[in-house]
């Protein structure tokens, strides 16, 4: 189907986005659902990668932006819906792309966009009862100083100044003027609990039904199995899970609000703290998004360094994930110790290169912050040709055929192929379900098209296959790294002069990379000022959780822990 046929069918309802620096289509909200169904069924855009909103305050408009892709690979399709800012209502796409579920809830929570037809439109990152929608451009946080950094207020007349000094209670809080604490009844989790599915009466086999009680179990936010501050409410029927709802936001650190006050470069260290096990990978995604807008590319050597760092990061993250998965399966801490020992060796390389073990802050627009120090290439060479392959084989021998690992993980938490696509799962979760979608191949970025590597893929979609995919990906990363070390050229590591304040022309861009957890995307809208107008993160851990409830149904509590471990979430990225 061509563009003309499209516009014919949706006459007056579908326009090309003609703003300078923008792409895609603007769809009228009345026809949105139909349009989405058309592109999914007739054009093969079956994978909805990202949904987010933008508050165009000067135009009195809210825009919802969708990025759809084909699960076979190839470039994406961007479409948007524009609605007035006051009481914005947009039809929900959950019925067509269930993966939009959490993302629409997030847009409701943070921007106040009401998605009509959403089955469960509650706040997701903040709590029910919080005042306002924080990502609205005219919403000011309690510690508001100025709308853009650098703040002048931080250093008035040469004296250091702390914002809390002139705030009531010296705390980061603000209340609506009419608020009284006396009458306030905190909205506990009643709505959440009452919305949980019950299995209802069971036929006892003698014609009479057997009434069973529903039990609600809360796991987290402080629970050793949840890898951080994650909470799940599980509705149990006997031992069996009838329903599971993740409760998020316990680590919501307002990356996006802070990011829109920051200048472009200031956001780089913040990206480190998203998926804090893979800081270089996050840097990569953000750098790509901004470079796309600026229209620059890094020099050869920088590209190689970037790929090297990204792949080392993948190894680090997967090692950690395998370690924690084994923790969750009951092999407490011993496999973790093996994994962490290897991780430390790579962290030493990161520290030598960037000055920090975890929060590397190493990428810059148009290159990297500094060149590799002397001797590092030899170290990496030794690691990726000698030590790591041996250690990965060792892990493989210990774990893959282990009887307990196999019984605990084969056939558990199955996510079938179609569902994986529908739910916009990404990364190893998607590939373990038989979809060979890897952004490095599907829409190759940087210099990944030069390397010889395979996309790891398995077909059963269970916990075991996700573990195997990760193991295989470590091997493939080692393969890439061997080629990088062999081919890396000499030369510049940065285009042009390093700058504090970059010039970013107006427009939008979506940069995505294959991070260890899955597709990490940055959606950035620039209006030509030193700060991004919109800074949105499509986080793989967050979206992978959409399918989590489905994967758990019918299993036991102990399996939930294993399934969560196999999705491999990092809370910094889930809650942002």
């Amino acid at each position: 189907m061509t563009l003309e046929e499209y516009t014919d069918r949706f006459t007056g309802m579908l326009n090309f986005d003609e703003r300078k620096g923008y792409e895609g289509y603007i769809v009228h909200s009345e026809r949105l659902v139909e349009f989405a169904r058309t592109i999914r069924d007739e054009l093969g855009y079956d994978y909805l990668s990202s949904v987010t909103g933008v508050d165009y305050l000067p135009d009195e408009q809210i825009e919802v932006v969708y990025h759809a892709y084909r699960s076979q690979g190839g470039p994406g399709l961007v479409f948007k819906v524009q609605v007035p800012r006051i009481n914005p209502i947009v039809p929900s796409l959950v019925s067509i792309f269930p993966g939009a579920d959490f993302q629409e809830r997030e847009a409701w929570d943070l921007l106040g966009i009401r998605f009509e037809g959403h089955p469960n439109l509650r706040r997701i990152l903040m709590w029910e009862g919080f005042h306002g929608h924080p990502l609205r451009k005219d919403w000011e946080e309690p510690y508001f100083e100025e709308s853009e950094k650098p703040f002048n207020s931080r250093w008035p007349e040469g004296k250091a100044f702390r914002i809390e000094e002139n705030k009531p209670f010296k705390k980061n809080v603000q209340y609506p003027p009419e608020f009284t604490p006396d009458g306030w009844i905190p909205e506990a989790d009643t709505a959440l609990y009452s919305g949980m599915v019950r299995l209802g009466a069971k036929d006892a086999g003698n014609g009479r039904s057997l009434e069973t009680d529903q039990i609600l179990v809360n796991l987290g936010p402080q629970h050793p199995s949840t890898h951080g501050v994650f909470r799940m409410v599980v509705s149990l029927d006997g031992e069996e899970i009838a329903d599971l709802q993740p409760v998020l936001g316990y680590l919501h650190r307002n990356h996006e609000k802070i990011g829109e006050r920051n200048t472009y470069l200031m956001n780089m260290p913040f990206t480190d703290r998203l998926d804090y096990l893979a800081s270089m990978g996050n840097n990569f995604g953000y750098a790509l998004a901004v470079e796309k807008l600026m229209g620059i590319t890094p020099p050869e050597r920088a590209e190689y360094i970037r790929v090297m760092m990204a792949e080392l990061t993948r190894i680090v993250s997967h090692l950690f994930s395998i370690g924690t998965l084994l923790n969750d399966l009951g092999a407490f801490f011993t496999p973790m110790l093996y994994a962490l020992t290897e991780r430390e060796l790579i962290l030493d390389i990161f520290e030598a290169v960037s000055g920090s073990r975890m929060m590397c802050n190493y990428f810059r627009f148009g290159g990297v912050a500094r060149d590799l120090p002397e001797g590092i290439l030899e170290k990496v060479y030794e690691l990726v040709t000698e030590r790591l392959p041996r250690k990965v084989d060792e892990l493989d021998t210990y774990l893959t055929d282990n009887e307990i690992v196999r019984t605990r993980s084969i056939g558990i938490g199955v996510l079938p192929r179609e569902q994986a696509i529908e739910y916009s799962a990404a990364g190893p979760v998607l590939r373990a379900s038989g979809v060979g979608y890897d952004v490095r191949r599907a829409e190759s970025y940087s210099i990944y098209d030069r390397f010889d590597f395979d996309v790891a893929i398995r077909h059963n979609g269970d916990v075991y296959d996700r573990y195997l995919v990760r193991l295989e990906e470590i091997r493939q990363s080692l393969r890439i790294l061997q080629q990088v070390v062999r081919d890396i050229p000499d030369g510049e590591f940065q285009t042009g002069k390093p700058q504090y304040q970059v010039r970013v022309p107006p427009g939008e861009s979506y940069g995505r990379v294959e991070n260890p957890k899955g597709e990490l995307g940055f959606y950035i809208v620039s209006n030509g000022k030193p700060n991004p107008w919109r800074y949105h993160i499509r986080s793989p851990s967050f979206i992978n959780l959409t399918a989590f409830g489905e994967m758990c149904k019918g299993h036991k509590i102990a399996d939930v822990v294993a399934i969560l471990g196999s999705i491999d979430i990092v809370l910094g990225e889930v809650d942002r």
């Binding site: 903040m126 980061n172 609506p176 629970h223």
Partner: protein, 213 residues
Amino acid sequence: MGDDLNGPEYQVPEELRSHITITTLDRIYNWGRRSSVWPMMFGLACCAIEMICVAASRYDFSRFGMEVMRPSPRQSDLMIVSGTVTKKMIPQIVRLYNQMPEPKYVLAMGACASGGGPFKEGYNVVSGVDKFIPVDVYVPGCPPTPQALLNGLIKLQEKIDTQSIRTVRWYKREASEPIPIPILGPDLIDPRDIPILDAKRASVVKPDVPENS
């Protein structure tokens, strides 16, 4: 053990030195506690990963008697607040703190737990866990390196060494007060602030205009 413990200048006969040591009650009590601090297994954010590294083989805090990480607050002595404290999480943190039996200590790990860190201005961020619970040791860094955390833990041991049974709060006659649990209202409400909030409202004369939405 003899050398750290031997306190008062009592002359123990030569032949008994390897069996007997004479010390003060404070010393032996503190020595016991400082050598088996059980931290709570509870991570908040990025800093928690470095905490895990400290628990792993390269840095290994079991050298200080701290390897027994307890997932339950009822069994732990030390809360390592390892990461950003958010408004949504602080009620749980206070609750966990209240559930820990005394003697109990708090170590604020990293910039976030100490003062809000890079996310201080965020609308969901509590700028420092010490706004709600008392902190014994602050460890700077973002994240603090494992060495820094180890140093913080040693500092905590030094603090324990200086305490005396006679003055610590958990041997006072009256029971310690639990810390009031913050409430999630339109924004975070600290119950201790409610009187101030009320007073402030009373002092503001309401304008005649009834509505203003």
